[in-house]
Structure formats: C-alpha cells, structure tokens
C-alpha cells in the first residue's frame, strides 16, 4: 500500500511540474521510497549483526529497535517485493520521461500494482501494456478460457511433474556432493538448471492462465531458453520481463551501445551484476550475474571481429556450449555460500562417491514428454500449438498431462523458487 500511494501521488505530482528540478525531486521521492523498501527488506541483512533468525523475536523484547529490524528482515518481508517494486519503478520512470500519462484513479493504479496472478513472481508488466487491459470491458469467451486452462495445465505439469520431481535429487546432490558418483553429481548440477526453468516457467504459465481467465493477457516470460544458440538469445528467451526491464531502465539510460567500447563493457557488466544482485543479498548471485556478463561480452567480441557462418553445425555447437555454460553458472545461483564452491567442484571431478541418483520410469517418461513439448513449442506457445491439433489428439494430450499431474507429480513440499525473490 505504501508503494502504491507513494508512486501514485509522486507520478501525478511530477507530471504537473514543468521545472526539471522539481520533477527530479518527485522522481527522487518515488525512487527512494521503492528502492529504500527493497533495500531494507532484502539487503539490510548484509549490515545487521549476524544472528540466528530464531533469535530475532527475542530481540523485540530486549532491544526493540534492533528486534524490529531483524524481525522485519527475517519474518515480515512483503511477498513479491522485488517484482512489484520494479513494476512501479517502471511506471514512475515512464511518467517522468513522458512516455505515458499518469493514472488518475487510485483504485486502478492499486490494481496495476497488485494484480494477483503476477504479484508474487511476475511477469513484470509495463503500465502501458497492462493498464489498458485492466480498464477494458471484458466479454466472457470460451476460446479465452480454453487457452487459459491449456496454459495452466502445462504450467502445472512442468512445475509439479518436472521441477518437483527433480527437486529432491538436486537437493541431495547439492547437500552432499562428495557422496555421489561423478555421473550423479553432474546430473544433479545440470538438473538444477532444468528445475529452476520448469519451476519458474511453470509459475509464469499458471499466472498467464489465471490472468487470461479474467481477460488479461500477460507477456510471455520464457520461450524455450535452453534451445538458445547464443547467450544474447538466451536472455531474449529467459525471464523476458526482467531482462527487458533491465534493458529499458538500466542499460539504455547508461548509454547502451552508443558509447565507447570500455564504457559499453562497463555497462554490460553493470546490468548483469545488478541483475544478479536483484535476486538477493548474496555474493553468489553477483558472481552468477558477472559470469553471464562475461559470457555476453566474449560472445559479442568474437562476433564483432569475425562473424561465424550460421551453419547448422555452428548453431548446434553454440547451443551446446551455451547450455553447458548456463548450467554451470547456475551452480553459483543454487549454493548458499562461496565456501560450497570448492566442495562441489571437487565432487564433479572426483571418483570416490558411491551413491547413485536413480531416475524412476515415470520421471524419465515425463522428462522425455517435456523435451518433446519444448521442441514443438520452440516458436510457439503451448496453447496455440494445440490449436493445430485435431480434437482427439488434443484430448490425448490433456489426458496424458492430467495423468502425470495426478499420479506422478512430486509430493515433497517445494515452494516456487522465485517466491523468495
């Protein structure tokens, strides 16, 4: 509510001002309020005494102020703060740059900030795209419900059947990598890449489906990113709403590519490192962002000097290389502290572990099904793909997915990974 009120009134106030410094003041108020809250809840922990979160409650009795901070940091973090903060930031910045008119109705603006399907984990929508839809008169349509349920069905399938079944395997390997055989450690490491993709893409599809039931079309957040043949393409296909946000509100204002080479390199690295930092107050996320930044730079510099022929072999090799690099980079995303890196890397190259990961037949079947679905949706979306199929085939697909969700879904409790951000 605080974010909503501050941004609503700050945007109106800055829009009324003609003098630049006054506009800057209101923009500053909005940015400080939003980024201040984000900092307080996500990054203050870096500067507070390192205590067990269990103790935080005790501090409320003996040291009220410190207790308040600790309790806030550990137990009261608003759901989806990283997502709605970026959404409202883009609104204020768009008003500031006169790209949009400020919203005059507080209720409509509050709905834009807190639209429930995408509040918790995105997609991060732009005002210019979402608000006209929220205000439009909606007519109930069978076709829309059909699309919505297809999206949700596939979203539930990849979250509950792929991500939730891989999760215990990944957890086991990351908890004790040295106890596993080399094959299992490599599999567990790469499986996290698949887990986080299906977990997050699954959520996004469910959110899109839920919004579509209400007549709202949310943007696509993922487009088969692991089939990318370059790191640039990967970021055009992975968490699209966040990567385009960083492009429009960080990279371009920094000068984009219309600057000197050195400055451009700094800009690229800054965008990727901030993107890593957005995920949380941990050096591991910074390194993850930096790795992607470096990969992007290397790729662009290679292409700038000598453009490779776009043969199938080159594309395939690029795809494999990107897949391997991205999945190894996920290691830094998944671990809790840098101390775990040597332990995990050692396990990848040692042969002493004896424990083997076992994949049951249902899991293998679902992984193959998922791979086929990914290939078929390379240039499409699941709901649109099904439009091309005859009714009988569609129902076979529905039944197959319902079976997987009902009988083979993972049961251990694994909340959506991106809920923590």
């Amino acid at each position: 509510m605080f974010s909503t009120l501050v941004d609503f009134y700050a945007a109106q106030a800055l829009h009324r001002q003609k003098v630049t410094w006054r506009r800057n003041v209101f923009l500053g108020i909005s940015l400080s309020a939003n980024l201040g809250l984000l900092f307080a809840f996500k990054y203050l922990v870096l500067f507070l005494p390192s205590v067990d979160p269990m103790i935080a409650n005790i501090y409320t009795v003996d040291h009220p102020f410190l207790g308040f901070l600790l309790q806030g940091v550990y137990f009261s973090i608003p759901v989806g703060i990283s997502f709605y903060t970026f959404q409202t930031l883009s609104y204020t910045l768009d008003v500031y740059h006169n790209r949009i008119e400020p919203e005059k109705h507080l209720g409509h603006f509050a709905l834009f900030v807190s639209f429930f399907p995408q509040l918790v984990a995105g997609p991060i929508e732009r005002f210019s795209r979402l608000m006209p839809q929220l205000k439009a008169k909606h007519v109930v349509s069978y076709k829309r419900f059909q699309q919505a349920f297809r999206l949700m069905l596939y979203g539930f399938f990849i979250k509950m059947c792929i991500a939730d079944n891989l999760s215990p395997l990944v957890d086991a390997v990351y908890d004790n990598p040295s106890t596993f055989t080399q094959w299992s450690t490599w599999f567990g490491t790469f499986a996290f890449g698949l887990q986080i993709y299906t977990d997050f893409a699954g959520y996004s599809l469910i959110a899109q489906g839920a919004a579509l039931c209400l007549g709202i079309s949310l943007m696509d957040n993922f487009k088969t990113p692991y089939f990318s043949t370059s790191i640039g393409e990967f970021w055009n296909r992975w968490h699209i709403s966040l990567s385009t946000w960083f492009r429009d509100y960080v990279y371009v204002p920094l000068g984009g590519n219309r600057v000197s080479l050195l400055r451009w390199v700094v800009n690229i690295l800054a965008v990727f490192i901030i993107s890593g930092f957005w995920h949380g107050a941990n050096y591991t996320f910074l390194i993850w962002g930096a790795i992607h930044g470096m990969l992007y730079l290397v790729e662009r510099l290679i292409n700038a000097n000598k453009r490779l022929p776009q043969t199938r072999f080159v594309l395939l090799a690029g795809g494999v290389a990107i897949f391997i690099c991205v999945n190894i980079a996920w290691l830094f995303f998944r671990i809790d502290s840098l101390q775990q890196v040597p332990r995990h890397v050692n396990a990848l190259f040692q042969t002493e572990g004896v424990q083997n990961l076992t994949l049951s037949l249902p899991i293998i079947t679902m992984l193959v099904t998922f791979l086929i679905a990914e290939i078929l949706t390379y240039n499409s979306r699941f709901d649109r793909l099904l439009d091309r199929y005859p009714t009988v085939l569609r129902w076979i697909v529905y039944a197959g997915l319902i079976w997987c969700i009902a009988a083979w879904a993972g049961v251990t409790n694994h909340p959506f990974i991106y809920f923590q951000f």
């Binding site: 979160p53 269990m54 409650n57 005790i58 009795v61 137990f75 007519v139 109930v140 349509s141 069978y142 419900f145 509950m160 939730d164 249902p362 129902w395 529905y398 039944a399 319902i402 079976w403 969700i405 009902a406 009988a407 083979w408 879904a409 993972g410 049961v411 251990t412 409790n413 909340p415």
Partner: protein, 342 residues
C-alpha cells in the same frame, strides 16, 4: 444469459464430466499399479493397517515408545507385545512408527472398517506431543504429508492433494517463528497457592541460571538438560490445543464405528523433571495429566494413566533428552498396566 455464456456452460459441463470420468479411470490404474509405491515412500502405515484390519480384535497405535530397545535389554518385546501376551484369546495388531502422534492416527482410525463390532483400539497418548516444540516441530510437515495419504478418499485425490501441498505444510521458518512466539509470550498460570510461576514463560524460565557451583560455574550438561525439560513440559493444555482437537475427533470417529478406545497415557520421567527443575514443572505435568484423564474419561474413553508409573532408571535417554524410550522392564510394566485395563 448471453449465447456465449450458454455455450461456455454447456461445453464446460461436458468437459468437466469428461475430466471427472478420466480421473476416475486413472484412479483405478493408479490404485492398481502406483499407490503402493507412494505409500511405501510417504505413508507406510496404511499398508500395515490393511494387512491387519480384517483380522485383529485389538489394534495398538504407537510410536517409538512402543518399540525402542537398548542393547542391554533382556528382551525386545514391545509394549503392545506385552499387552498381547496377557490376552492370548484376542488377536492383536500393532501400527507404530517413530514420531507419529494423534494427527497420523486419526485418518488411520477413519479407515478402519466397521466389520468388527467388538474391536478395541489402544492409542498412545504422549504428554510431550501437546507442547509447542512438537506442534511446530521440524518433522511435522512430513508427518502431515503422510497423514494426507491416510485420508479416506479416492487414492488419486489424496495424491493430487499431497502434490498440491494441501496439508499443514508450514515451512521450518514459519514453525520456528510460531514456536518462538509461544515460548516468549505464552504465560503459565496457577490458581494454587503452593505454585508460583516466578518465571512464567518458557523463555524466561530457560534464562534462569541453573546448576551453579559455589564458585558460580555452571554445569553445562545439566543446565542444557534442565532447559530441555522446561521446553518439553512447561505448557498448559486447554481446548484450543490442536492435539486435543484431534484426540476429540479420533474418539468421536471411533465411537461412531462402535470401537472401544483406550488411551495409553505413557510415562514421563517425573523423577528427573523434579531433580532438574523442581515441583513447579511436576505440577504442570500432573495438572495436564489430570486434564486429559478427566476429559477423556468423561467422553467415554478408557484412559490408562501411566504418567508416573516408571522411575528414572527405565528411561533410556535420560542422560541426554526427556524422551519416552523405555527399557525392557519399563515396556513390560506399561504393557501390564494397559493389559489390566482391557
């Protein structure tokens, strides 16, 4: 009503019915080929119950107190075996699993068929499971997942609900917070003159220095064990306790099925509670016991009060933690007392 809405309702209904039929068909396949694997992994007690449900006159629902043994034990008989030995004319079955409590027993009792009208169930009642440490314990989410599989509904629906985490699946983080709140703010009250809670919350009670020698140096091992006793038993049961609500429901379900219920209130280490903490804690344990015995006797159950049955020497983990793990003699004494009340 517009044409489109009529269109949606008619087509939607057909599709909903089709999906329901598909799910019912899938339930048959799931039950035949996959259910046992899921039960093995997540809810093994239902399989055990299915093996004994049609043949046993008496079913004992227990946890680790029933079976934990020590290398020095002169036998490995469980409490339930000791009861059964006293009633050779009755067929006995045992359902037990470490850390289980009434939350897991309740859906199992719901699954009991009514085919045996003279059936008796003996349900373990562990005083410690009424405390916040257990209610908000780290293993609770997994136990509740198991109990989801025990619910008496279509197996495939149980699986779907389990996959959707439709059970008490609060995270360790949330449970820690709730536990700390309870330990910090739940106050202990006594209306008796002989009992005065100078330290009226678990947190304050634990903060008090204990076992200091003449030089003011603390015996850390004893201090830690003393604090464990406070966390285990410094609480007061009332109607709002979630375990009470589940015991109430279990009794109600059993009575509807004409099943006799015997609650076995298992022994706690009163002797050590008195040594490490003192009379105030013992008073809390006894008053909680009185509450349980009176409540469930009035509701028609047989409550076997074993709370103070065993001296400290029968508790296997007495040097480490307050825990209801008894030696062979202890298990025998408990079994005999329950057998007498059958």
């Amino acid at each position: 009503m517009s044409q489109e809405i009529k269109h949606i309702i008619s087509k939607g209904l057909i599709r909903l019915i089709s999906i329901a039929v598909i799910v019912l068909g899938f339930n048959q396949i799931y039950t035949s080929y996959f259910l046992n694997t899921d039960l093995d992994n997540h809810g093994p007690m239902l399989l055990e119950l299915s093996h004994i449900v049609d043949t046993c006159d008496v079913i004992y629902f227990g946890e680790s107190s029933n079976f934990t043994t020590h290398p020095d034990d002169y036998n490995t008989l469980r409490i339930s075996d000791n009861i059964a030995a006293k009633h050779p004319n009755k067929s006995f079955g045992t359902i037990n699993h470490g850390a289980y409590h009434v939350g897991m027993f309740l859906p199992l009792v719901k699954q009991l068929a009514m085919s045996k009208p003279s059936r008796t169930i003996i349900v373990t009642m562990n005083l410690r499971t009424f405390n916040q440490d257990v209610i908000f314990g780290p293993s609770e989410a997994n136990l509740r997942l198991a109990s989801r599989f025990y619910e008496p509904s279509l197996p495939i629906l149980n699986k779907i609900f389990a996959s959707l985490n439709h059970y008490d699946n609060r995270s360790g983080h949330e449970r820690d917070l709730l536990k700390w709140k309870a330990w910090t703010y739940d106050t202990l009250v006594s209306h008796e003159d002989s009992v005065d809670f100078k330290y009226n919350t678990i947190r304050r009670w634990c903060e008090v220095p204990k076992f200091l020698d003449s030089a003011g140096i603390q015996d850390d091992a004893k201090r830690q064990l003393a604090d464990q006793y406070i966390k285990a038993y410094a609480f007061q049961i009332d109607d709002s306790n979630p375990m009470i609500q589940e015991f109430d429901e279990l009794l109600q379900v059993a009575q509807q099925k004409n099943i006799r219920v015997v609650f076995n209130l298992i022994p706690e280490n009163i002797q050590d509670a008195r040594y490490y903490i003192g009379e105030n804690l013992v008073w809390l344990m006894q008053s909680n016991r009185d509450f349980l015995v009176e409540r469930y006797a009035n509701l028609g159950a047989t409550v076997v009060d074993n709370l103070e049955l065993l001296p400290s020497k029968h508790f296997l983990d007495r040097a480490v933690i307050p825990q209801e793990h008894y030696d062979a003699k202890g298990r025998e004494l408990v079994g005999l007392k329950v057998a007498d009340m059958l």
